[in-house]
């Protein structure tokens, strides 16, 4: 009895000692921080195939809403805490983080990946001093979405490249408030990534810019006044009530439930509009390029949620392997086989747009392609500027004063102040912020 017990004890101890050699048999775990939108959720679902093909890599997902993601990723990367191996970020964060030396350069990309297939405009926005620091997962620009049935009923035709004056005339003709149809809906919710994303492109197309070459804010310039007056007049006369609470999601709902005749917003909004379960206008929507006023420079924005690897990541090779897998041509085909061509990651690779099946499944493809290829984050305005970024200014302080300017303009939209007062307040806020940040003396 006793000897059996002690034999069992020794065997158990020996077993424990033998069963834990460090490294070789254990899988490397990589932690991925992602946004909770449909494309990422699909990626998470299909990533089990990657794990099956790479048994020594285990994926841990942290999927949160965009604002939370930005906060957590920025805090993690800037303090070098190494909590994440792979993060999602965009053209705003990548150059700033790369400049501070916080990201690993994306080199060692195999020829089979075909990096040239990825849109040049996206790669430019994710690079610093010519080196690439992130791989785009999907890209988006902005465009005009409209109800072709309402246009046909009034005998109106939308040109492929409308002007802002065209849009105003169409909105006036199509607004029928008693029937609950508003000529146009645009973002009004204050925020640097909300209303200011659209308004920056509007200011660009009216010939304006955020800063001159000496970093002096230009918010009280004539171009800003023209752009913002156009926006406020249009929305107050032909837009839905409560516009200052409407961001991307609210406008998508308004348009999908048939209450708006036109909507200028992300090309990513086109996908949900085709989903018959969510949208009442699936067979009535058509697309045109974002309207221009004085110039087409910066008239539509550029953004891509992209994979980046923090310098402090614990398993950078495994992370790069997954990033290359998830942004490859093979992955696009995998999504097409799983949920159909209309739902593949849009706007990142030219080869997607050469595919006949995709063009047939996604009527918004040609307008998206044109927008992606003509958006240039390195030249956002027709004037020379010291910053990069079309719908944002690529400096850290922008997140703060950008939102403050957005708040003032929302105040003008709500009728609480005039456009001139709002622009003056915005100019003061930006000037103070730039002095605080050390750009202005």
């Amino acid at each position: 009895m006793r000897s059996t017990l002690s034999l069992a004890a020794v065997t158990l101890a020996a077993g424990c000692l033998l069963a834990s050699p460090a490294g070789a048999a254990e899988p490397a775990g990589i932690t991925i921080a992602a946004v909770n939108n449909p494309a990422m959720i699909e990626l998470k679902k299909l990533s089990t195939k990657f794990e099956a093909g790479n048994p020594n890599i285990k994926l841990n997902w942290v999927v949160v809403e965009e604002n939370v993601l930005r906060q957590r990723v920025t805090t993690d990367i800037s303090t070098g805490s190494g909590q994440f191996d792979l993060v999602f970020l965009g053209q705003y964060e990548a150059p700033i983080f790369a400049k501070n030396g916080w990201l690993r350069e994306m080199n060692g990309i195999p020829a089979s990946y075909d990096l040239e297939d990825v849109f040049q405009s996206l790669r430019d926005g994710l690079s610093y001093e010519g080196k690439l620091y992130a791989l785009p997962f999907y890209g988006e620009s902005s465009m005009l979405m409209y109800r072709k049935d309402l246009f046909a009923a009034k005998g109106l035709t939308m040109p492929d490249q409308p002007t802002c004056e065209d849009v105003r005339k169409f909105a006036a003709a199509l607004t029928d408030k008693s029937a609950g149809i508003y000529g146009i809906t645009l973002r009004g919710k204050p925020g640097w990534g909300e209303n200011m994303a659209y308004l920056s492109t509007l200011v660009n197309t009216f010939g304006g810019c955020w800063f001159d070459l000496q970093w002096k804010p230009q918010i009280d310039s004539a171009e800003w006044r023209n752009a913002i007056s156009w926006y406020v007049d249009l929305m107050r006369n032909y837009g839905p009530p409560g516009a200052t609470a409407n961001g991307f999601n609210e406008n998508l709902t308004l348009f999908a439930s048939g209450k708006a005749a036109m909507w200028i917003d992300s090309t990513y909004g086109a996908g949900p509009l085709y989903d018959r379960k969510e949208s009442q206008v699936a067979d009535k929507v058509a697309f045109a390029s974002a309207p221009v006023a004085v110039t087409s420079s910066g008239s539509h924005w550029l953004w891509s949620w992209s994979f980046a690897i923090p310098k402090a990541a614990k398993s950078p090779e495994a992370a790069e392997k997954f990033a290359l897998w998830a942004t490859s041509k093979e992955y696009v085909r995998m999504v097409a086989a799983d949920t159909g061509w209309a739902t593949v990651p849009p706007g990142s690779r030219k080869s997607t747009y050469d595919n006949a099946e995709y063009l047939q499944a996604a009527p918004f493809a040609s307008v998206t392609l044109k927008a992606m290829q003509t958006a240039d984050p390195l030249k956002p305005s027709m004037k020379p500027v010291p910053y990069q970024g079309i719908q944002f200014v690529g400096i850290p302080a922008f997140q703060s004063f950008g939102t403050v300017v957005g708040q003032s303009i929302a105040g003008a939209l709500a009728g609480q102040m005039t456009v001139d007062q709002a622009l003056k307040a915005g100019q003061a806020a930006a000037t103070r912020a730039m002095q605080q940040a050390g750009y202005l003396k």
């Binding site: 920025t74 805090t75 800037s78 303090t79 700033i96 501070n100 609950g180 919710k189 204050p190 925020g191 640097w192 909300e194 839905p240 009530p241 409560g242 516009a243 200052t244 609470a245 609210e250 308004l254 209450k259 850290p396 302080a397 922008f398 997140q399 703060s400 939102t403 403050v404 708040q407 003032s408 929302a410 105040g411 939209l413 709500a414 009728g415 609480q416 102040m417 709002a422 307040a425 003061a428 806020a429 103070r432 605080q436 940040a437 050390g438």
Partner: protein, 293 residues
């Protein structure tokens, strides 16, 4: 029986761990916040670090939105306190008498307190107050009136409505419980003396509730000073700065650009404001506490 000497020292020694832990818990974050408020510390700008003297404070109170934010904070707190305590008292008196379905009604009355602030704010914004989809818009349309854009035209009022709806259950609960301890003999004595309901309310009920009211006011003030979630999800600081309170101002100027220095300075300013408010509140309510029951 504890005397000076050995038993006294033992008492202090045994209490020491808890006291030390609590002191560190409070002092370390406070000291760090004060330290950071005098530093130039932006997470995204590692080159610009160093001692900033009073720059962060100057940036904050030189902001044109600072005084409006202060005013909005006080207006918000005052309105919500007035509504919740006033309505809470009336409801407590109402629920005192038995009526059919009282327990179910009390449950429904208390329920809003347990809904998450962001959820309540979104429900009010998108389902009740929305000028296109909301219930109020529907009611207005049925009456033939034009719907009101609540958050655009009356942002502060809308916020006060949401916050009062959230905090009324709390005030009601505490006041209702306190009302139960009203002496039955006092009630009978008042009835015998011929007091009418209004006199009974003002001369007996309200003085009895003063202590409970002061508790409600103190706790609600502490939480209402740092209201953020409702503002963030509905108005993002309101058209212009109509609903920016101090907490939201600190967020928009500091936290959004990951500037620890500015955010810390804002935190210290908020601590100062809270202490000033607490000082006045305690003075006003202290009369009811001293020589109480």
């Amino acid at each position: 029986m504890l005397k000076d000497g050995k038993p006294g020292r033992w008492r202090m020694l045994l209490q020491a761990p808890a006291v030390v832990a609590l002191s560190l818990w409070m002092l370390v974050p406070l000291a760090l916040t004060i330290y950071f408020s005098f530093m130039r510390y932006n997470l995204l700008n590692p080159e610009a670090r160093g001692f900033a003297r009073l720059e962060n404070y100057q940036f904050l109170w030189g902001d044109p939105a600072f005084l409006p934010a202060l005013r909005n904070t006080l207006v918000l707190i005052g309105s919500v306190l007035a509504i919740t305590v006033g309505l809470g008292t009336l409801l407590a008196v109402l629920y005192e008498r038995r009526f059919f379905g009282r327990n179910a009604a009390a449950l429904l009355l208390i329920a809003p307190f347990f809904v998450m602030p962001t959820v309540s704010a979104l429900v009010w914004k998108n389902m009740i107050l929305h000028p296109v989809y909301g219930l109020l818009a529907l009611a207005f349309a049925k009456l033939g009136l034009a719907p009101i854009d609540w958050f655009g035209t009356y942002p502060m009022l809308s916020l006060v409505i949401i916050l009062s709806w959230e905090w009324l259950p709390f005030a009601f609960l505490i006041l209702f419980t306190s009302l139960k301890s009203l002496d039955a003999e006092q009630k009978e004595a008042a009835q015998i003396d011929g007091a009418n309901p209004a006199q009974f309310f003002f001369h007996i009920t309200v003085p009895h509730l003063r202590r409970a009211m002061s508790v409600v006011v103190m706790i609600e003030t502490i939480f209402l000073l740092s209201i953020f979630a409702e503002i963030y999800t509905t108005t993002s600081g309101g058209p212009g700065t109509a609903t920016t309170n101090l907490a939201y101002l600190v967020y928009s100027l500091g936290l959004q650009q990951f500037d620890v220095g500015i955010a810390s300075a804002g935190g210290i300013l908020a601590v100062v404001l809270a202490n000033v408010a607490a000082f006045f509140l305690v003075r006003i309510l202290a009369g009811g506490l001293k020589g109480g029951h």
